[in-house]
Point group: C2
Chain length 370, copies 2
């Protein structure tokens, strides 16, 4: 079968769903009518078929290998996005009314996560960055943990405000639960330090429709029998994510993205270096612009490697920037509607040449309008 890749493609800086590696798209396209040796499309095969069982096990094994996931943790594929996890986490991990859930809120996504807790238990905002318009991460002294926390929740990277933790906000051995939706698989991570890490796939790990949850067996024991089947992590984990029909195609794409990371990129240390280099290209232009571009994050240490968020002096300039960028095939650069400005999401699959093109455009734009 031949695939035509001369189709015009833009540099897509979408915050998510976001760009995928071209080689992954090509493999999906090649096998869309029938998987090799199967005679039916990935969209048509039973989740109980040996062909699909091989696909989901392959995706799981590749995640285990890439992240070095230890035997103490299970990989569970869920639907419903991070949003459903936000409800399931307190529903499953708060076991009594005497426990609180400590949330470190550094942006909109953390705020949304915290908002689901009161349906199930007691919320303590250990830090609330809303008071500073989400321009900074907490210092150790800012964190007001409770004495009886069942877990600590934080968002490793906030896409809207462009803030990213380099180190988790821990408190002794209270289990850490991390929404890593927007920097999962962008760098190595020590899974042992976490009770749970979860990530919707549509940034770095595939396409929308599946959320990867890595959960410690210790936390799985807390699930009890308090929730309906699909809303109980232990019940879904016990069935190897096949309690019901899983999102077969999205899991297939996640497997292909992991294969790309392993075989074409060379693993998470390699992608981390590539991502840091890409981010530096853009932040350097900002820092050398003499104040023409202003980053949302107040402290350079807190800047996200995934989402470079900045603005210019006026909304009119931002608008002009977006229009002229789009004319050069640099698309989806608008900031989130809640804060405006510019947001360049440069996840794993954004090639360096896309970032170089944007950096060049930014220099020219600053020179012409500064």
């Amino acid at each position: 079968m031949s695939t035509d890749v001369s189709v015009k493609r833009v540099f897509n800086f979408s915050a998510g769903p976001a760009a995928l590696p071209l080689s992954v798209l090509q493999e999906i396209q090649r096998d869309m009518i029938a998987l090799p040796g199967v005679g039916a499309s990935i969209l048509e095969i039973s989740h109980r078929s040996s062909a699909f069982v091989e696909i989901i096990e392959d995706a799981r094994n590749r995640l285990v290998n890439l992240l070095g996931i230890p035997d103490t943790h299970e990989v569970v594929f869920m639907q419903g996005g991070a949003r459903l996890q936000n409800a399931m986490i307190p529903a499953n991990f708060l076991t009594s009314k005497d426990e609180t859930a400590d949330y470190v809120v550094t942006g909109n996504w953390g705020k949304n996560s915290a908002a689901e807790v009161p349906f199930y238990g007691v919320l303590n905002k250990a830090f609330d960055g809303a008071e500073g318009s989400f321009t900074r991460l907490p210092e150790a002294a800012d964190l007001q943990f409770s004495d009886n926390a069942g877990y600590i929740h934080f968002t490793s990277n906030e896409t809207i405000h462009g803030l990213q933790f380099k180190q988790a906000p821990a408190n002794g051995d209270v289990p850490l639960v991390c929404d890593a939706s927007s920097d999962f698989l962008s760098r190595p991570v020590n899974i042992s330090e976490y009770g749970m890490i979860y990530a919707c796939a549509q940034k770095n790990a595939g396409t929308a429709g599946v959320t990867v949850c890595i959960i410690s067996k210790e936390l799985l024991e807390r699930c009890g029998d308090r929730n309906p089947s699909y809303l109980d992590y232990a019940k879904v984990a016990a069935k190897d994510s096949m309690l019901n029909t899983p999102p077969t195609f999205s899991i297939y794409v996640t497997g292909l993205v992991c294969k790309w990371l392993q075989e074409e990129v060379g693993g998470l240390e390699a992608i981390e270096k590539m991502n840091s280099d890409k981010a530096r290209l853009l932040y350097d232009v900002v820092d050398e612009s003499g104040g023409f571009y202003v980053v949302h994050a107040a402290n350079p240490e807190h800047r996200s490697v995934m989402n470079v968020v900045f603005k210019m002096a006026t909304p009119e300039l931002d608008r002009k920037f977006l229009d002229e960028a789009a004319a050069e095939n640099l698309t989806t650069l608008g900031g989130h509607r809640s804060i405006g400005g510019i947001r360049a999401s440069i996840y794993n699959a954004m090639p360096r040449e896309g970032v170089e093109a944007l950096a060049g455009f930014m220099k020219d734009f600053a020179a012409a309008n500064g």
Copy 2:
């Protein structure tokens, strides 16, 4: 771009995920690298982009047109399969402890649906076919409805046991909630008679990852504010199914399947006739086999048009049947592990020639082994 359709394809009788129309697979393949005029794949575009908003609105409009959905009802695209709906239905529609939920249980799927009710309220099994090994649907006199039912739930087609309602088991104006996962879009339906109809897409309406929910505004008003955001139908409906990132690709596929139904098949009356004709081909072979093939449904009136479930005198014969059928590219014909035997799922996308091939094989097999 050229697509090669000479790839070997089998006749896939999977109960779900199930066969898709070849023309749908070809369109997905053609546009996988970049949607026309967009420059990025359907897997990569933001759900907030105008390109995707057009796709989700198109899918919704096609469903409205095909089914004649009135203004009194909303179309909501959810994740988590029918299994998550089973939890959300009592969570949203039981508003007080004085209400019961009446469940008409005619197979495994109805049993699973009923099992989630006690997490939220009082369950009344108005009929429980388990006592008769799910070989029949209830007569009117069998139905033990309660006086204070918040809603009645039933499963229009049970895939494992091959039983299908021709008419809903109603009780005055108590809202009817129907799990139509396995016969949705296979025939016309009067939506006005239902409080809610829901269907996971992977049988007749697309691929795994999206569940279509058609809900009356009257039922939506019952949701209150008792559930977290993603688990509250009213909150998701208020955001046009974009409370968070929806399963973009699966919704795109559902839209393409609806387009196929409209433009290539000619609507739901046309597909109903095609489906009846296909089912008759197989049931005729069974009825003319002199008892060699025995249908699970005791009453011919209850036989499913979607899943033809039967067995032979011994499990060894069933096994031989499956092996010899597979050798003729008639695949995935094994009955569900809970009852064994043979199951031919002949959803919308199974072409008549596949059913003719199976009917021919069945005749030959009976002649050789009868």
